[in-house]
Amino acid sequence: MKIVVNGENKEVAGPATLEELIRQLGVGKETVVAEVNRRIIQLDQRSGFQLSDGDQIELIQFVGGG
C-alpha cells in the first residue's frame, strides 16, 4: 500500500498498523507524536490503528526552539 510519511512517498507491505510502521522506520521514541490524516493518534492506540492506502502520516518530535 502507498502512504505518505512526513511528506515522503512510501510503499509498505500491508496490512500494517501505525505502531508497526513507526517501529519499521526506527523512530519509535515515546515522545514522538503521530498524526494520521491530521488526526492525532495517541500512543496507546497505535497498535490497534490499521493504516489504509493513501494515508498521510506525520511523525513529530521536540526540537530546539525559542
Binding site: 515522503e8 515522545t31 492525532i40 495517541q42 506525520e58 521536540f62 526552539g65 525559542g66
Partner: protein
Amino acid sequence: MTATLNQLMMQDTYQINGKTFTSRLLVGTGKYASNELMGECLEASGTEIVTVALRRVNLDKKGEKNLLDFIDPKKYTLLPNTAGCYSTEEAIRVAHLARATGISDFVKLEVLYDEKTLLPDPIATLEATTILVKEGFTVMTYTSDDPVMAQKLEQAGAHAVMPAGSPIGSGQGVLNPNNIRIILEKLKCPVLIDAGVGSASDVAVAMELGVMAVLLNTAIAHAKDPLKMAYAMKNGCEAGRLSYLAGRIPKKLYAQASTPQKDF
C-alpha cells in the same frame, strides 16, 4: 542574621497557573552549536522553564539522539512553542501535538503575521489564546508591547502575557520601557519580556521594570561564549530583580553630595 543572596532568591517565588517557580529566566533551546552545549547553558542559567519547538522527525537519521536526551523533563518544565505558525488553526494544531507528547500542557503561543519582523498577528493570537485556555492549556502568549493588546489577552484568560522587548533575535533590548510600564500597571497576570534581549544588562533593565521574568534564547546561544553568557544572564536577572525589589533612588537633576561638606 540578615538573609543571604541565596535565601533572598529562593524565597522570591512566583506562579504561573498555580505552578511555582524560583528562577526568573526562561531559556530557549534553539540555535546552539550542539545539544551538549545547550544542556550546559541551561544548567548554568539556573532556568526552570525551557522552550522547545515541534518539527517533523528526520526519517533519514534513524536512532539519532533527540532533544529530550539532553533535557530532563523532570528537572525542567517544558514550554513548547508554536513558532512558525501563521494562523490560529496552525497554532492550535501544534499545541495539540505538544500536549499529545504527554510531557507538558504549557504552551508558548505565538501566531506570527510577518516573516521579516516576526511580529505577531494580534487577531489570530487573541483567537488562539481564547480557544487554548478553554481547552485547559497553560497559555503564555507572545505579543507586541501594545498595552491594549496585552489587556485583551489577559481578558481572554492568558496565564501569562509576554510582550517582546524588541524583535525576536534582534538583540536590541527593551525598546519601549514605557509601554512595558503601562502593561505592568494594567495587568494582574504574570508579564514576561519575551524576545529581543541581547545582553545581561538588557535582562537587568527588563527585571528592574518589574516584569515577572524574562525569556531569551539567541542572546545565549549565539554569544561568542554561550556558557559564560548563560552565567551572565543568571546574574543579570537576579541583579535586576533585587534592584527592583530594593527600590531605586529617584533621578535628580543636580548633584547631591555623598560626603558631608563641612566640619573638616
